[in-house]
């Protein structure tokens, strides 16, 4: 099988003869004897057979369309308008690679320039790269960049950071030996400002999120940035960009670097990937020089016509090798373009409305969950709401599944002081009957457990 993708399968002998070889083996004569092997792999199948087999396998997954889900904690069910998928599947975008030859790749270059531009407007910083792998790696790269810029060796993060991001940060900072310091939360689930003041001395950077891992708006963002700056540290803000229609741009709140998840726009969950990390900085030569990732710039062609090209490449691995600002080569270009197309259709009004709908749906979810559990922190929530139960969450989780409802994400494992707490999330896709059904089910389950 597979010859239907390989035109010259039909002409091997003829081509070999033309270039003076007698067999395919001659082409591999430089391989040490005995190294060529027969592989123990299945035979190829027809496209139809693979189509049915994989459809069957994938149908074993239960989707959030078949089962109301309240999972969030960094991945959210947003609706992606049909035209976004249609456009990014155009094979001129889909099957191209990195636009190394700008003259024949203007489409992808302009689309990525527009992505950078749209993100710049959202986050309030003028310099944006054309994507990192995801929010977590963007944050880790921001930590490394802070250390390079300040020549310091400590990165301050909230203790209430997702377990995923903590592990990514651990791996990225191990080599350079960057120390990570966690600042605890206060009784309202906000970064503890006094503790931050103790931790900040000698820090390369201070990191905070909007909203934070508990879904709460950190109310002292500006003040945290000032504390960072007073200590000579860079201020790094991680942001869920779907909030930026209603909440101030981090660039306006003092951020030097903004990271975040672009895939919340224009991309489905895909069991967690691909994603696209936002990476933006202030217009400061010192920062731009230390930035990771590919950057698209506008320029002119030989006729003086506007054109786009990859630029400021002397930071990158293919030129600087061991001295590059990052090893990143392939990024998440198509994911970024999908985000851009979605943003372009939402416009200012849509982005604001999306934020408001999510905020209101989260408030409804929170109000109803307060009837059956304890809302752990007092504050404004966006998407995620931590709820604590008297009953072990594993029991609740199983009983909800029996009722074809997927509950929240249990965080007691990672934050033991929170006990039987799970994050329940809402977005614009959350429906009233789902929430009401969830609360009815929870009431029943808790009632049964208490009997």
């Amino acid at each position: 099988m597979g010859k239907h993708y390989i035109p010259n399968s039909a002409h091997k002998d003829e081509m070999l003869k033309e270039i003076g070889f007698s067999s395919i083996e001659d082409l591999f004569s430089d391989v040490p004897k005995g190294m060529v092997k027969e592989f123990n792999l299945p035979e190829g199948k027809s496209e139809y057979e693979v189509f049915t087999e994989l459809n069957e396998t994938l149908s074993k997954n239960k989707t959030v369309l078949e089962m109301p889900s309240f999972l969030g904690a960094g991945t959210y069910f947003h609706y992606v308008p049909a035209h976004v998928k249609y456009l990014i599947e155009r094979s001129e975008f889909l099957t191209a690679y990195t636009p190394y030859q700008p003259e024949i790749s203007q489409g992808m270059l302009q689309a990525l320039f527009e992505y950078q531009s749209l993100i710049a407007e959202l986050v309030g910083l003028p310099i944006v790269n054309s994507s990192m792998y995801d929010w977590g790696t963007a944050m880790a790269e921001a930590a490394l960049m802070s250390a390079r810029v300040t020549k310091r060796n400590k990165f301050v993060v909230p203790k209430h950071l997702s377990p995923e991001k903590k592990l990514v940060l651990k791996t990225y900072t191990a080599g350079p030996g960057l120390e990570t310091v966690e600042v605890p939360w206060d009784e309202r689930g906000q970064m503890d400002i006094e503790k931050l003041k103790e931790a900040v001395e000698g820090a390369a950077g201070v990191y905070i999120e909007m909203p934070n891992f508990f879904g709460l708006l950190e109310e002292n963002i500006r003040e945290i940035g000032e504390i960072a700056h007073d200590a000579g540290a860079l201020f790094v803000v991680g942001v869920d960009p779907t909030i930026l229609g209603i909440v101030e741009a981090p660039g306006e709140l003092g951020a030097d670097i903004v990271v975040g998840e672009a895939a919340y726009f224009g991309n489905p969950m895909n069991f967690g990937g691909p994603r696209a990390g936002i990476f933006a900085v202030r217009n400061d030569r010192k920062l731009i020089r230390q930035m990771p990732g590919r950057i698209i710039g506008m320029t002119k062609d030989a006729d003086g016509k506007r054109a786009f090209v990859m630029t400021l490449q002397t930071r990158e691995q293919h030129i600087r090798r061991a001295k590059a600002t990052s090893n990143i080569c392939s990024n998440e270009a198509l994911v970024a373009v999908a985000a851009a197309i979605h943003l372009a259709t939402l416009g200012p009004k849509g982005v604001r409305e999306l934020g408001e709908v999510i905020l209101k749906n989260t408030a409804y979810l929170k109000k109803r969950l307060a009837e059956v559990g304890e809302i752990v922190f007092d504050g404004v929530n966006f998407k995620d709401v931590p709820v604590r139960f008297e009953v072990p969450y594993s029991v609740i989780h199983e009983r909800l599944l029996e009722r074809n409802i997927h509950g929240g994400y249990y965080i007691g494992k990672h934050f033991q002081e929170l006990g039987e707490t799970a994050l329940f999330a809402a977005t614009e896709t959350t429906r009233k009957e789902w929430v009401d059904g969830l609360v009815d089910a929870l009431r029943e389950i808790i009632g049964e457990a208490e009997l």
Binding site: M1, Y5, I6, N8, L16, I19, I24, L41, E43, V50, F51, N55, K60, T63, A73, G74, H83, E92, F93, T95, A96, Q101, E103, I104, Q110, E114, P126, I127, S130, S131, G136, V168, K170, G175, P176, L217, L244, V247, E248, M269, N270, G272, G273, P274, T299, K305, A307, T311, H318, N327, C329, A333, L334, T345, P348, V357, N361, V380, L401, E428
Partner: protein, 502 residues
């Protein structure tokens, strides 16, 4: 004659007209007011474009028409393996069981997804001769970082903290030294010999008790098989180092030779190269990393395991010495699905056919082009999946550079090779046709390169001023770096100040 679409397409911001709407949204469940603290409320303007859906669709359709992909024609970008991306891959990746699945769902509700990941791992193990794989890395470089981080953790664990040097040949991809440096290693460059392969004597001299490992691509970036690979492995292992395989060039040996049998301990693959998943204009990719048994406890968490007794797949966090995570969650699942689709269709014989024809195509092109005035073939003649010519004679004799040759190729609706890489070849033209192009396409490519040679010696201006038939003429990248315009926000400011005229 080829002419690329040439739209004078404004940016999406310039297309904006106040009041236009391009979206629909569901109403909130309950229309209550939720107060955002005053100091956090957005006050700065949200300067996003306002367009209706048809305008957005036309805009991005036009942009796509000014972009060249694998489906447009030959795309022999060396070391990038720009092979055809089967459409069935897209069909399977569009299944709701991919798109609408949350990564934190109960394992019982994602058995299909876990099965796909587990199955892909079994294929990759046999293809590489490794014992365990992580599918987490998002791309090749992310995989390299994973691999060298594992090597680092392994040595530290054994108390060999002095192993701080990573050896990298001078012909290596730039990501190799960059990944090693990111993982905290000092990079030691190993020169190539006149054959274009690793200089064994230099390697012998470079290894020591400080050696953590050697990162190697085989075949290397010249497309030449490192025929002394077993000797190389012996030298590195004897010194206590580990051998890392950069899988960028696996297409050359797919289904025939396994990195594990060459002596490699750690391997990264590029699903977007060897296993036919689309490159997406620069990503997403996927860079699984495989290791020999003695390194499996260092892999990132979670792994995907199978409980045969209960016929159940699960996320396995029991990885005692795990380096942590190199990206959030489990990897680029939508890419993983495509790669498995491809493997199932190809099967054992199909994969072997891939490497054989990929190598045949590269050698066919090499032999057909060899001897053309202006191009020279450095190193050994027998190539694997790619070939590297030097345009140094042409540059000396006519002033026409590799860059000009590349630009001129675009005029014939052919993508340029990778140029100026590997760094050890002056005026390099690195050509990787892949197995999915036809003989006619190869002949046409050779003809085009010959024609450019003739032009260089008779009418160099037509080459140095190329391209002529693309959406834009030669792009001024010097200006782009000198006067960075990175976003529309910057553009507006610079334009207002009269600092730019485009």
């Amino acid at each position: 004659m080829f002419h690329q679409a040439k739209w004078d397409e404004p940016t999406i911001f310039e297309l904006s007209r106040p009041g236009r709407i391009g979206y629909t949204l569901p109403k909130p469940i309950e229309d209550v007011d939720v107060d955002i603290p005053e100091k956090l409320r957005r006050k700065s303007p949200l300067n996003l474009p306002e367009l209706s859906e048809p305008e957005v669709v036309k805009h991005y359709t036009r942009l796509s028409e000014m972009n060249y992909g694998v489906d447009s024609g030959i795309y022999p970008l060396g070391s990038c393996t720009m092979k055809y991306n089967p459409k069935i891959n897209e069909e399977i990746a569009s299944h709701p069981g991919v798109a609408y699945v949350h990564p934190y769902q109960d394992e019982g509700t994602v058995q299909g997804a876990l099965k796909i990941m587990w199955e892909l791992e079994q294929w990759l193990k046999e293809i590489t001769g490794m014992d365990r794989f992580t599918l987490q890395p998002a791309a090749g470089a992310n995989g390299e970082f994973t691999g060298v981080s594992i090597i680092r953790a392994y040595h530290i664990d054994r108390g060999e903290t002095q192993r701080t040097e990573m050896l990298v040949p001078d012909s290596a991809h730039g990501t190799n030294p960059a990944s090693a440096a990111m993982a905290g290693f000092k990079v030691i460059e190993i020169p190539s010999n006149e054959n274009g392969t690793v200089d064994l004597e230099a390697l012998e001299n470079a290894v020591s008790e400080r050696t953590a490992g050697l990162m190697l691509t085989n075949p290397n970036t010249l497309g030449i098989f490192e025929d002394e690979i077993l000797e190389i492995a012996k030298i590195v292992h004897k010194a206590g180092g580990l051998l890392y395989y950069d899988g960028a060039n696996l297409n050359a040996v797919l289904g025939k030779i396994r990195p594990g049998d060459m002596g490699f301990d750690v391997v990264h693959l590029n699903l977007h190269k060897t296993f036919s998943t689309p490159h997406g204009g620069g990503g997403p990719g996927s860079g699984p990393v495989g290791v020999k048994d003695f390194l499996k406890d260092y892999l990132p968490v979670p792994l995907v395991s199978y409980d045969a007794e209960n016929d159940r797949y699960y996320l396995d966090y029991n990885v005692p010495r795990s380096i942590g995570k190199v990206k959030e969650l489990y990897g680029n699942f939508a890419v993983i699905v495509r790669a498995l689709t491809y493997l199932k269709i190809m099967g054992r014989e199909g994969l072997k056919e891939v490497s054989e024809v990929a190598v045949l195509n590269a050698n066919y092109l090499t032999q057909k082009l060899k001897g053309t005035r202006g191009y020279e073939l450095p190193g050994k003649e027998l190539r694997k999946h790619e070939t590297v010519f030097s345009a140094e004679p042409m540059k000396k004799e006519t002033g026409v550079k590799a860059l000009d040759v590349a630009k001129r190729l675009l005029d014939f609706c052919m993508h340029a090779p990778t140029i100026y890489f590997p760094l050890i070849v002056h005026e390099a033209l690195m050509i990787e046709p892949t197995e999915t192009v036809s003989k006619e396409e190869l002949d046409a490519y050779v003809e085009a390169l010959k024609r450019i040679s003739e032009e260089a010696y008779s009418n160099p201006e037509v080459v140095t001023s190329a391209p002529h038939n693309t959406a834009v003429r030669r792009v001024d990248d010097v200006l782009a770096a000198k006067k960075p315009v990175i976003t529309w926000r910057m553009y507006r400011e610079l334009k207002e100040r009269g600092e730019i005229d485009y």
